[in-house]
């Protein structure tokens, strides 16, 4: 147990950026829009979060900037996919390329800099609980914010009118439209909010996790998050579980490397990707047997009011 606690705490830390990205994508997909540009959005969030934190000294302003930048770039995806009915897969790839390119250029001057960013703040009383305390309540504020976000989204999606409207638009846009909801407006709003949350996941990487900026630092986490949305069957609580699972793999991988084994680094670095495929396979086999559901019925299909 003594050895396990630090690893589990590290799993929560490493899983948090993936968790933000997964939560953002869940809300976007719940509205019926699939955004595969997470990788680009995370990089944009990481760089804008880093740049603003570095300029102002306030990590919270950095997080806010990441959210705004993520929402802004998701707007392009919304215009292409919601208003113009473009292909959502290709648009997501375009967003990833754009985000990778823009951050590579703008981030040049930040490479090698260090910022103080967020630091660890143990929660009073809660962090004293044995086992649970050190694992969950001895982190930086952005981790606690992600717990709040998970709880909030569970409540919002299933217990509020707005959440119902969001799910209605994703499941049956025609019915939602006939109830007087604006499918287009709702899809715009949640694509942008979702994109903003994804970008916070990127900001976590630069502002909380590593305190620096490196080109392409999201390293596929955006794509892993896309897979985790399916694993989580669009449920924020399951998304947390899945993200910490991946965080755990990353934490173990770092520890094995640090322990100096004979296994070479590139082989260890493959693990998260192999795990993603495995997880997806297991989920898909179970889904085939009709055990899991939860995908928004109109995911990926544009809505045209005048067409039947």
């Amino acid at each position: 147990m003594e050895i396990l606690i630090p690893i589990l705490a590290a799993a929560v830390r490493s899983g948090t950026p993936i968790l933000y990205a997964t939560l953002g994508e869940i809300i976007t997909e719940k509205s019926g829009v699939m955004n595969l540009g997470l990788e680009g959005l995370m990089l944009l969030g990481a760089l804008s979060g880093f740049a603003v934190t570095s300029a102002t000294g306030s990590p919270w302003l950095g997080v806010a900037a990441a959210f705004v930048v993520g929402a802004f770039f998701s707007l392009f995806h919304a215009i292409v996919c919601v208003s113009l009915g473009g292909n959502q897969v290709v648009s997501g790839l375009a967003l990833t390329m754009l985000g990778t390119g823009v951050t590579a250029i703008l981030g040049r001057n930040y490479v090698g800099q260090l910022i103080s960013g967020f630091s660890r703040i143990p929660v009073p009383f809660l962090s004293d609980i044995p086992v649970i305390g050190p694992i969950f309540f001895n982190h930086d504020p952005l981790v606690y914010l992600s717990y709040g976000l998970v709880l909030f989204l569970c409540w919002f999606l299933w217990r509020t009118k707005s959440g119902l409207n969001l799910r209605a638009v994703g499941d049956n846009p025609r019915a939602a439209d006939s109830l007087g909801l604006s499918v287009v407006a709702i899809r715009y709003v949640y694509t942008m909010i979702g994109g903003g949350i994804v970008a916070i996941g990127g900001a976590y990487l630069s502002v909380s996790y590593s305190h620096m900026w490196t080109e392409g630092m999201s390293a596929g986490r955006g794509w892993i998050a896309v897979a985790l949305v399916i694993f989580a069957i669009w449920n924020p609580a399951r998304a947390a579980f899945g993200s910490y699972l991946f965080g755990g793999v990353e934490a173990c991988q770092l520890r094995i490397q640090a322990a100096g084994t004979n296994i070479s680094a590139p082989i260890l670095l493959m693990l998260p990707y192999i795990l993603t495929i495995t997880v997806l396979l297991v989920i898909s086999i179970r889904k085939g047997k009709g055990i899991l559901f939860g995908a928004p019925a109109s995911l990926g299909t544009p809505f045209y009011r005048e067409e039947r």
Binding site: V80, L84, G86, V90, A104, M270
Partner: protein, 354 residues
């Protein structure tokens, strides 16, 4: 005056040209705004890009060098896209092909040029093909999202390659650089006597022609399109869905694998870290810009090769990172997608409300 959209009843021919050209122009305009914000004169940057790529014979030959893997990988993804299978994994399949080719040169060396290239090509086909077919089988059998599996396998392939070039295959004489020893001369593709253009160009031309022929002339090409348009109807018509997906993915990956082999055997003569600068991803743009038309791919791959060559010279002359071309590429994709809207709709001036 009010504008409104109206559904097109027919699609005029000029749109086929206007949409891609309009998309390219808009992409360069927006990237220009970005460059200006960076303090770089866009006119100067574009002039530099244009002249380095299309200004002289050497520039043109470099475009062709880039066009070879781009066209091959674009044909590869086109095959699967026609079937609405999203093979985003050409990049990884290129890596697998290159690794396999290097393995052939390392473990079955032969002084016979033909024999050597044959074993490199076969292994590359096998490696790229199986890499893609695996994702295809998961998709066809259990409906596992192929976008994610092919992407994840890109990362795995890249790390696998790093394993070899940093580890067991590293050339002791490379002064610590992650690369294998140079291939023997028998494992190199012929040069064509025009810059660095190698005989991979012949392979690319054959593949483009074969893809055109398959889609235009054969029953199988027709079946692929039917499956893409309506998998259920295809199954009812007696087309074996699982088998077709696996076969198409194998061929798709095999072609991408060959692209990887020509890249190492034709151009670089050794396997080295990060040898493919995202050809597999750029190929998706090439395929999409060409509207999955093999003949158009030849032209678009050449133009996109020009963009890459221009981007490299920007890096050398103006110190912009190589990823700058990704900005232009991303913009092109966005505007082409937006332009598709005008294929279906037109904008008309609405009559005054009655």
């Amino acid at each position: 005056m009010r504008l409104k959209t109206q559904k097109r009843l027919n699609q005029p021919i000029w749109l086929e040209i206007a949409i891609p050209v309009g998309g390219l122009v808009m992409a360069f305009l927006v990237s220009g705004v970005f460059l200006t914000a960076m303090g770089v004169s866009p006119m100067e940057a574009y002039r530099e890009m244009y002249y380095s790529a299309f200004g002289d014979s050497y520039g043109l030959s470099e475009c062709m060098v880039k066009a070879i893997p781009l066209a091959m990988a674009a044909i590869a993804v086109t095959l699967s896209f026609k079937m609405l299978i999203w093979n985003i994994g050409a990049e990884g399949q290129i890596f697998m092909g290159a690794i396999a080719a290097a393995a052939a040169a390392r473990y079955f060396p032969s002084d016979n040029h033909v024999l050597m290239l044959f074993s490199m090509g076969s292994l590359a086909i096998l490696a790229g093909g199986l890499w893609a077919a695996f994702a295809g089988y998961l998709k066809a059998r259990w409906n596992v999202n192929e976008i994610i599996t092919t992407l994840m396998m890109n990362y795995i392939a890249i790390h696998l390659m790093d394993y070899f070039v940093y580890g067991p295959w590293r050339d002791p004489a490379s002064l610590g650089f992650p690369m294998t020893a140079p291939f023997p001369q028998s494992a190199r593709l012929m040069e064509m006597g025009w810059g660095r253009v190698h005989s991979g160009i012949i392979l690319a031309a054959i593949l483009i022609f074969m893809a055109w022929w398959v889609f235009k002339m054969t029953r199988w090409g027709y079946e692929i399109r039917v499956i893409g348009e309506n998998p259920k109807a295809a199954t009812f018509a007696g087309i074996d869905y699982v088998k077709n997906v696996v076969v198409v993915m194998f061929i798709s990956g095999a072609i991408a694998g060959l692209a990887g082999m020509t890249e190492v055997a034709g151009l670089q003569g050794r396997l080295q870290h990060g040898f493919s600068g995202g050809f597999g991803y750029t190929a998706i743009i090439v395929a999409w810009l060409s509207r999955l038309n093999p003949i158009a791919i030849a032209l678009v791959a050449f133009l996109m090769g020009g963009l890459l060559v221009g981007g490299e010279s920007l890096q050398i002359v103006m110190g912009l990172p190589i990823a700058s071309t990704l900005v232009v590429q991303g913009c092109i994709l966005f505007f082409i997608l937006a332009g598709e809207f005008f294929r279906r709709y037109r904008i008309v001036i609405a009559k005054e409300d009655v």
